[in-house]
């Protein structure tokens, strides 16, 4: 029986491209020239895709909004229904799937489908920009890749419930959405769940962001949003934008690590230059940062105090780059590029330059934009800057042989929630099972908390908890969690010494030492 509702093919990139061309207005040369084709080939090879199941006549809410907002009024009768391509890392046939739907014994079970599910791509019925909502499995962790911003999606395939943990991606259609809109859309996919706000479609994002659009440009077709317009789109979903310049690699890595671990995806503005064409400036581009790789074996010292951050171990970030694909790698490879005649730090991309080689276009990070719940008031830099002198004093004592630590402390600083923090303490038994653990669990704490964990050989020695909902002039510091007696005793002794206290009482870092001073 041939069922027009779905079709099944063995996976190959050629089959995928052929099916896409059949379902859209796209021409072969358009599909072949898209970076997505190369990217998806490598991605599906890595995920070991074996089967494509095509769900015809799929209604996608996001495309429907875009359709109603623009395409319906076009003279060309664009279709409003999409096609959804599902991918599996198991071979099965049309007959196997039909047997499953009929409930007869067969080679395929519902569990098989879930276990081998790699996700889906919605294909939009447009001439060129055909990649709609895309939810694909992430790369395997391999002990170094982290994707803290993924959430659960629950597609339903003709009554068969499936689930996939990922973050949705889609390419800009260059009509209702440019790159910044697509990046915002991906970020809102997570923040919508995390902070309970409605998730707008691309056309809704462009419309709200463009309330303050320059008068000399059209709103639709949209040629691109500015940071100012992006912050407005963030405010429209009742979140607060936090913007920081991120040309400095230490600032970039530490900031993205801190917020990503709080499950908040970030937007990154970059400048692209073609190194194969005399560093020709291409323009500004926006991507959504969704994960990172801790590929470096050791942390790198930074600045005049030489602070060590765990974030400095990052060697790659994974971004939803609407011109490349989901979870696209950008590598910190210490190669400089020239921007406006100046040599600056750059990171690799998967873009193709004039020479036709992937990676010949380099990205120069410009800024990071975080969409935050309004109660997350204390930014990362306040915590980072408070840790610098605290760490410096411990290091001075260690260098003089006063505090017996074999290595310098490495700081792991990130945002969390009170529930995640206490669940971690309760389930990991890292505080022991006794009175101390109970006391920490029962302590009343704010909803959002900054954790600064001091590590020695990857083992926590002490942890500082800060109230992320406070004001900077407030107490800010909640408490320390003491894992190791040596450092705890040393800090208590240090803080209780009147001479030391007198020199620090007016400084922000005293808020931390003050807590140790008050301990028995």
């Amino acid at each position: 029986m041939s069922n027009p509702s779905f079709e099944i093919f063995p996976y190959s990139i050629d089959q995928l491209k052929k099916s896409i061309i059949e379902k859209t207005y796209a021409k072969t040369h358009h599909i072949d020239s898209k970076l997505h084709s190369t990217y998806l080939k490598d991605y599906f090879d890595a995920l070991e895709a074996k089967t494509i199941l095509i769900e015809n006549d799929y209604i996608d809410r996001d495309f429907l909004e875009d359709f109603a907002g623009y395409y319906v009024r076009c003279f060309t009768p664009y279709k409003r229904k999409c096609t959804r391509f599902h991918f599996f890392c198991k071979k099965f046939s049309q007959g196997d799937f039909e047997a499953l739907l009929k409930g007869t014994e067969g080679l395929l079970s519902q569990e098989d489908l879930q276990d081998t599910y790699l996700g889906f791509i919605v294909i939009k019925p447009l001439p060129q920009t055909i990649i709609g909502r895309t939810c694909l499995k992430t790369y395997p962790s391999d002990g170094r890749r982290y994707f803290p911003t993924v959430r659960c999606y629950s597609p339903n395939l003709f009554g068969i419930p499936l689930r996939i943990d990922t973050l949705a991606f889609q390419e800009q259609d260059q009509v209702v959405a440019a790159c910044a809109t697509s990046a915002l859309w991906s970020v809102f996919q997570k923040t919508g769940k995390l902070f309970s706000h409605p998730i707008p479609s691309p056309v809704e994002i462009t419309n709200t962001a463009s309330i303050f659009a320059p008068l000399e440009t059209r709103l639709l077709p949209n040629k691109g949003l500015s940071v100012y317009q992006m912050t407005h789109a963030i405010r429209s979903v009742k979140l607060e934008p936090f913007l920081v310049k991120a040309q400095n690699e230490h600032i970039l890595k530490s900031t993205l690590y801190a917020y990503l671990n709080g499950q908040i995806p970030l937007l990154m503005g970059i400048d692209l230059v073609d190194t194969s064409n005399n560093n020709k400036y291409w323009g500004k581009h926006a991507v959504a940062i969704t994960g990172y790789s801790l590929g470096k074996n050791s942390a790198m010292q930074y600045g005049s105090t030489g602070i060590l951050l765990k974030a400095s171990r990052i060697d790659k970030i994974y971004v939803h780059d609407d011109q490349v694909g989901p979870f696209a790698r950008m590598v910190f490879d210490n190669i400089s590029s020239v921007l406006n005649g100046t040599s600056v730090n750059s990171i690799s991309t998967s873009w193709i330059g004039k020479n036709g080689v992937i990676g010949s276009v380099r990205a120069i990070p410009d800024n990071i934009l975080a969409p935050l719940y309004h109660k997350i008031r204390i930014p990362f830099d306040v915590i980072h800057d408070a840790i610098i002198p605290f760490d410096g004093i411990i290091e001075a004592a260690r260098n003089n042989g006063i505090i017996p630590l074999s290595e310098r402390l490495e700081w792991d600083i990130f945002l969390t929630t009170v529930n995640d923090l206490k669940t971690h303490f309760f389930q990991s038994h890292c505080l022991g099972d006794g009175e101390y653990c109970c006391r920490v669990l029962l302590e009343n704490m704010p909803k959002y908390i900054w954790r600064a964990i001091a590590l020695n050989k990857n083992k926590p020695l002490i942890e500082l908890l800060f109230d992320a909902t406070d004001i900077e002039q407030g107490t800010l510091f909640i408490r320390a969690v003491e894992y190791d007696p040596t450092l705890a005793v040393a800090l208590r002794a240090l803080s209780k010494e009147p001479n030391f206290a007198a020199g620090l009482r007016t400084k922000p870092e005293w808020k931390i030492f003050e807590w140790f001073e008050k301990q028995p």
């Binding site: 790159c179 600032i251 291409w282 410096g392 006794g434």
Partner: protein
């Protein structure tokens, strides 16, 4: 503290550590070290603050790629 059971340090060791810390803090060397740390930290955080500052003009440049 949550380490009573795991700790191999004796009370004597820890008390000696506390005493050493106190002596170091009030010693000329200790005070000099701490002063240097505070000055370096101040300089470093001030440079970081500058590096994080956004140029208001850049807020209106569109992302066009």
């Amino acid at each position: 503290m949550g380490h009573e059971k795991e700790s191999k340090k004796t009370a004597v060791d820890l008390s000696e550590l506390a005493q050493n810390v106190k002596e170091w803090v009030v010693s000329p060397d200790g005070q000099k070290n701490i002063q240097e740390v505070l000055e370096n930290s101040k300089e470093m955080t001030s440079k970081l603050r500058e590096a994080r500052d956004i140029d208001p003009k850049s807020l209106h440049e569109p992302f066009t790629l």
